[in-house]
Amino acid sequence: MLHGLRAGFKLRHHRPMQTMFDRIWDRHVVAELGDGWDLLWLDRILLHDLSGGRALRDVAERGLRVPHPARVFATADHAVSSAPGRTEGSFPRGGALVRSLREECARQGITMFDLGTGGQGIVHVIAPEQAIVLPGVVLACGDSHTCTNGGVGALAFGIGASELAQALATQCLPQKRPGTFRIRFEGARGPGVTAKDMILHAIHRFGADAGTGMAMEYAGEAVRALSLEQRLTLCNLSIEIGAKIGMVAPDEVTFAYLHGRPYAPKGRDWDAALADWRTLPSDPEARFTRDEVVAMRDVEPQCTWGTSPEHGAAVSGHAPRPEDARDSAQAAAWKAALDYMGLEPGQRLAGTKVDWVFIGSCTNSRIEDLREAAAMLQGRKVAPHVTAWVVPGSEAVKARAEAEGLHATFRDAGFEWREPGCALCVAANGEAVPPGARCVSTSNRNFVGRQGTGARTHLASPATAAASALAGAIADPRA
């Protein structure tokens, strides 16, 4: 009780010189556990087909019930087929997971955005789309790209199966407070530069483990100028810089995006929420554990060349030469990556022949991503040797795109227009890029085997992916 009252005291008082991250964290401390640990209240928990059903069964097997089912939302995304006209039976092993999730959600009274209901989609696409995630909330999900949701100014993080069961059973999680790492993107975006290029540039510059033990905040003129959907893309790759959490301060762009969405507060609640959300951003004098500046004049459209998201380069650039590595370990890692990717040291990226193009994933499958790609494709044709897929992030994105006629643009160009899900980002649904094939992908991970055994992944923006599909080779979207 004492802890509850103390936390309540923090709820009412705005402490100056605080980061947004620390302010939201402090508002959610149920009890201090010592040694830097706090018991955190979770406003929202998200579930997906790959681990959701199992986690709910784990809770039930302990003889427990989910105490706050109205704070939990589920969908099917990882293991569902993206084939046109798909059903849950199209990929039978995934169908079993979807049915299990559906049954367990029904048993607990949890809302599920099921296949074909108009609301299904990639969990980190539908949470902002439905306004399930709001500024200032703490949200957890058994998926590492939960950090995406920080784009609305929430504190959102991924967890494993054990923590997910704990969260579902108690609506709380013991967590150790991470440090804070701010990256300010100063200056204006150059031609063809998207949020995807900004974050890939940052991962390349600071390294894939720079954010380990940190919560990221992205700020600066170029971030303020991003749409809400682009901010989600920016935060999505926080885990690829090593951080569980990535955030952008909420502002008028955020509020305009959320207003009127299904789970957004209404009427007087909206007014009160708005007043509260305006108090969230980091104070001007707030100190971060690490603070860096990226000058936007240094950020060009990006394309990764290797097997870690830190293996980045400008799409106009080259794969590296191992002799230029900082030490023998990096040289060995670069050599192994070049071998796997089938690239020569120093090879020019643009012009490298491509077999597949994938536009989709929780990184880049929202309506603006599809518009960006479609604008590039208008009246043009995908190179005949390229298999090109577009997988909208949700049923709502798909419906919106079809209302705008984007599906026709994609199909006329030679893209397959498919059904929402994670699809080729994670290859857990029976779909995969074939061994040895080279794929320009708008997803988030170029790991060995990620898109299929032996698949070679180049991460890029939707515009760069579309340009590459047309050229049949890695291509600069500015060309």
């Binding site: 013991p174 483990d209 569980k244 890692a333």
Partner: protein, 199 residues
């Protein structure tokens, strides 16, 4: 959770940086329920050839390190996906402690949930441990004393978060621990819902 106190045995030298959890366990192996058999699939893309036979060049298939309880790794081990199956697969293959300069945050949390001990040491120390090489050179990881003992007797201290260390030594149950705060949780919920009903 399996308690952890001390483990001794050969230490697999796998010093590549950025070993992601997709490499540790392919997602396709996590579509079926349960943890049984995941040890066989640990590092499957490296451990087996296309025809399914063992790849003799992969270190975990080589005699001194087959089934070894300690893994020496490079920076950012366990980065990427949150899949806890990566921890279950490593433990299923016999690994009880991973020594690396840094770990992916979610993987690190998952290790402690299951009794797999992640030990942070500087890369130079890990290279020294790896240099002792094959044969029957045995490394000891002692959580009570927070020491790694090299085959030549060098004792290398390491730090573990005190809360995590206590949980590992005692094999504590986290849900039971959270439930001790039931009254505070309920008070927090009521107050939070009153102050921010939209949240």
């Amino acid at each position: 959770m399996t308690p952890f106190r001390q483990v001794s045995g050969p230490a697999i030298p796998w010093l590549k940086p950025n070993t992601d959890t997709d490499v540790i366990i392919p997602i396709q192996d996590l579509l079926r329920p349960g943890r049984e058999g995941l040890g066989e699939r640990c590092f499957a893309r490296l451990r087996y050839r296309e025809d399914g036979s063992e790849n003799p060049d992969f270190v975990c298939n080589q005699p001194p390190w087959r089934g070894a309880p300690i893994l020496l790794a490079g920076e950012n081990f366990g980065c990427g996906s949150s899949r806890e199956g990566a921890v279950w697969a490593l433990m299923g293959m016999g690994v009880r402690a991973v020594i690396a300069p840094s770990f992916g945050d979610i993987f690190l949390a998952n290790c402690f949930q299951n009794g797999l001990l992640p030990v942070r040491l500087p890369m130079a120390a890990i290279r020294r441990l790896a240099a002792h090489g094959g044969g029957n050179a045995s490394v000891t990881v002692d959580l009570e004393r927070q020491l790694v003992i090299a085959p030549d007797g060098e004792a290398i201290p390491f730090a573990t978060d005190p809360r995590r260390r206590e949980a590992l030594l005692d094999g504590l149950d986290e849900i039971a621990l959270i439930q001790r705060h039931a009254a505070a949780i309920e008070a927090f919920r009521a107050q939070s819902e009153a102050e921010r009903p939209w949240q």
